[in-house]
């Protein structure tokens, strides 16, 4: 009886997997047809891409380096400023957005929807939108990064806040502590490691995103890359890309180190 059941479960599981794979294959083929994609095109594309990468882009024009320092620094500054301000704002909002700490369920749902909007409209769209009213430059770049940082961090913070130990909160509540006392004295200490962890992760994302933001007018290295592409100055482009690469890798390395030290 039991063995039979087990076998039936196994069979349905296998069938489910098979069905899933078939659907996936159909979807993939549908996508390939829709995008005029063929294995040949893939092969050719990779070939062309590689040729462009290694012939047109190489070697990077190192003499451009001094001129790229300022945009590179701007990229870092924008990412960092957006991360810090975003963390502070998202920190406050997430307290109201997490089921465990929210004073009212309506506030919770409202803030979640609000942050979902910030998060799910891609950063490049925010930049295009903001450029129309704020003009080109670093202000727009910082603001766009700030908006998506808040969107992402509210969600991540709130999820962490929902996993905190309610016992510690209960204990402080029983001493007669008020709402804000509980938030700062019981919630914050527990929340600190994930707050820092998510913020560092957000910094990494900002550094990547800031290049994208730059392409549509937000300043920094992205702008250099975009204009270089348009002017066919590929050797300068590759120098800028190389810098992006360095900044991203260094940021990742440093955030990992900090994370290990404090969590």
């Amino acid at each position: 009886m039991k063995g039979e059941q087990l076998q039936r479960v196994r069979r349905t599981k296998r069938n489910q997997l098979l069905l899933f794979l078939i659907i996936l294959a159909v979807l993939t083929i549908w996508s390939a047809v829709g995008t005029d994609f063929t294995p040949g095109a893939l092969w050719g594309g990779i070939g062309d891409g590689a040729r462009f990468l290694f012939v047109d882009l190489m070697p990077p024009n190192v003499s451009e380096f001094p001129g790229l320092i300022q945009p590179a620094l701007d990229t870092i500054y924008m990412s960092f400023v957006a991360m810090v301000i975003g963390s502070v704002i998202a920190g406050l909002l997430s307290i109201f957005a997490a089921a465990t700490t929210s004073p009212h369920p309506a506030l919770q749902i409202g803030l979640r929807a609000f942050s979902a909007m910030f998060r799910n409209i891609p950063v490049i769209i925010w930049t295009i939108l903001l450029v129309a009213s704020f003009g080109l430059g670093k202000l727009v770049g910082t603001l766009s990064l700030l908006i998506v940082s808040i969107g992402m961090l509210v969600r991540c913070y709130a999820e962490s806040l929902e996993e905190i130990d309610m016992g510690q909160i209960e204990a402080l509540r029983s001493t007669g502590a008020s709402y804000w006392q509980i938030i700062t004295q019981a919630v914050l200490p527990q929340f600190m490691p994930s707050l820092v962890g998510w913020s560092l992760y957000n910094l990494e994302i900002n550094v990547r995103a800031s290049t994208i933001v730059g392409m549509v007018g937000g300043g920094g290295l992205g702008f250099t890359i975009q204009s270089g592409m348009k002017l066919f100055q590929y050797k300068e482009v590759s120098m800028a890309v190389l810098l992006v690469l360095c900044i991203v890798l260094v940021t990742e390395f440093m955030t990992n180190r900090i994370r290990e030290r404090i969590i």
């Binding site: 089921a99 209960e170 007669g176 008020s178 700062t184 019981a186």
Partner: protein, 276 residues
């Protein structure tokens, strides 16, 4: 004046489980009362209804002449700060120092300063003194999660004492501890309550501990009070009755432990326990 008066206290949880079915008792100043009963009997809910961590469905809880159930936010904080609470899982804020954890006992007396963690000098001195009193004078700057279970529970006691309470509610204070640590913790709890003239209502699983320390024992079964008397009156037959009433009832008794929220099954994290 009677310190605490409980009348016809009932609690039905949102999912329909009746945890308390109308409980009456009084606590006088200086009493050390052990509350015993099988898991799921409603001991933990009872304690949490007294300081409104869980809102009772009906009944009366009068603490020092004040109606707890209908108290406003401010009044409730005043009531809570005079009732210390000790938990089975210690519930210390793990990532901050032992000293800060004791200082948390002062929050009910503070305003925004408490939110910023700006404790007064006298509070810090008092907290240090309390930690020395529970025998942890050496550990005050350690992080709370670096201590052993027994030590953590003693910090929990110091936190409750820092509130300068009239009554301490102890919810299974030794259920997560080994026998040696249990003895130390029960001993300190009893001694300090006696020395400071604090009444104590202590949920216990161990009947021997209850008999050893309590001045009075209350037996709870399925949300109703089935025994209330001195340790001497708690005969073996009585114990049998409190814990094994279900023997005749068969399957009915087996379900007693389910659904009803008891701290030994994890905290009752219903809507009520969420910040209010």
């Amino acid at each position: 004046m009677t310190l605490l008066q409980v009348e016809n206290l009932k609690k039905v949880y949102a999912d329909g489980t009746a945890a308390l079915g109308g409980i009456d008792f009084k606590v006088e100043a200086g009493e050390f009362i052990a509350v015993i009963g099988p898991s799921g009997a409603g001991k933990s809910t009872l304690l949490r209804c007294l300081n409104q961590m869980v809102g009772p469905t009906s009944g009366k809880v009068i603490f020092q002449g004040a109606d707890t159930i209908n108290a406003g936010n401010r009044k409730l904080r005043q009531i809570r700060r005079e009732m210390g609470m000790i938990f089975q899982g210690f519930n210390l804020v793990e990532r901050v120092s032992v000293l800060t954890n004791v200082l948390h006992g002062r929050l009910g007396y503070m305003s925004w300063r408490g939110a910023l963690g700006l404790y007064s000098k006298s509070d810090i001195q008092e907290a240090t003194r309390l930690l020395e009193r529970v025998g942890l004078g050496e550990q005050i700057h350690k992080r709370a999660d670096e201590l052993s279970g027994g030590q953590q529970q003693r910090v929990g006691i110091a936190r409750a004492l820092a509130q300068k309470p009239k009554l301490i509610l102890a919810d299974e204070p030794i259920a997560s501890l080994d026998p040696a640590a249990s003895e130390v913790v029960m001993n300190s709890l009893y001694t300090f309550c006696k020395e400071d003239g604090i009444a104590c209502l202590c949920n216990l699983h161990q009947v021997d501990m209850a008999k050893k320390y309590a001045t009075r024992i209350i037996g709870i079964y399925k949300g109703t009070k089935v025994f209330d008397g001195t340790p001497e009156q708690l005969t073996d037959e009585m114990i049998e009755l409190i814990y094994n009433q279900n023997k005749g009832g068969g399957a009915d008794g087996l379900s007693a432990g389910e659904g009803v929220n008891d701290s030994s099954r994890g905290l009752p994290v219903q809507k009520e326990t969420v910040l209010a």
